[in-house]
Symmetry: C2
Subunit: 212 residues, 2 copies
């Protein structure tokens, strides 16, 4: 499938490389594609473009941009390139301006996932993958054989089914659909705990398993 | 040990009954102790009193009151009865005024744990147990043989050691000390996810296990 990945940091690179490995036709979009030249040399199977080009290329899109810049990045991608498409929103509204650990720019009675959905009502936003580190997003088996959970939410049921198929392709077996996009409040809200566990455990290679 | 439990709802009852079972001399404090008469008939080993009496009785105190009312309850308990003591703060600042699922009354850059610590600087506040349902707080083995995690935080290291001993007595083996009381932002911040998982799973008998 043609996929477009917005954002060329650690998350965008991991998602793009994994999608290409799984046989998808991927374009990674960046504000400044020149900085991807070294990475591209090792990943010739991923196309490089602008936000606009990557959004136009993908049937399914991934928002892997910095949460503080996501709305701007999607505006740069262009409404005509994103409308009607599924957008997997991986971003977190982390605020590093007050030092470490980061707090959240939007929280509790709103979320970045909802802000994106409100700003782009014709986009089918599915919040997912934002509660794990990049290498684990695309290969959950790297921790405990994949025996841990991923939360997804979004308003469009068919969009969630499509994203679920992609996530299964990444190796995810334990998905919990929390419901509509307002549930992004909960999955973004777990980041303050995540960043502290990262500090305490000394590794980002961990995840939450829900045990009953 | 003499322990005082402030709050006579499901959490206060579970904590009090378990402490008594473990041989502690427990007083449960309530705004209206009459409503405990039926419960007391089945738990004669727990003393019944006012917030003030329970706080005076305990060497270690538990805040098991409704988060929205915790500061008032502690004021009713009286500074002279709480100062210098360890207070295990189990409360969550849940706001049910906007319907279900609840949001938080304080979040992100502050927490109820911190507010209690600021309001009662001579109390040694240890945030703990607020991320699991009452029956699991006092008997973690009821889920997955106890193989799941509890987070604690607080400014006073010796207070955290004392609380850790009590929690081990309850059966907890997987404790993660997140650091000072500001980390209550993270453990209270997980409640929006907790309440949604409760809804999705159809049971409160679950917990988070951190897998690496």
């Amino acid at each position: 499938m043609n996929t477009g990945v917005l954002g060329s940091g650690m998350v965008g690179q991991a998602i793009s490389a994994r999608l290409a490995e799984l046989g998808h036709d991927v374009m990674i979009g960046s504000r400044d594609s020149k900085k991807l030249s070294d990475w591209h040399a090792a990943h010739r199977d991923v196309r490089i473009g602008s936000f606009e080009e990557a959004a136009a290329h993908g049937e399914i899109l991934f928002n892997a941009t910095n949460g503080a810049a996501s709305l701007d990045a999607l505006k740069m991608a262009g409404e005509s390139n994103v409308n009607g498409k599924v957008l997997v929103d991986i971003s977190n509204p982390l605020d590093f301006s007050k030092g470490m650990p980061p707090s959240l720019l939007v929280t509790n009675t709103d979320s970045l996932g909802e802000r994106i959905q409100r700003a782009f009502p014709a986009v089918k936003v599915v919040k997912a993958l934002n509660t794990v580190t990049a290498p684990l997003m695309v290969n959950p088996h790297k921790v405990a054989g994949g025996d841990h959970h991923l939360f997804i939410c979004g308003d469009d049921e068919i969009a969630k089914e499509k994203v679920t198929e992609l996530l299964k392709g990444f190796g995810w077996t334990h998905l919990i659909d929390l419901g509509d996009i307002t549930n992004a409040r909960a999955t973004e809200g777990v980041l303050p705990l995540w960043v502290r566990l990262y500090g305490r455990l000394g590794t980002a290679m961990f995840n939450f398993k829900i045990v009953q």
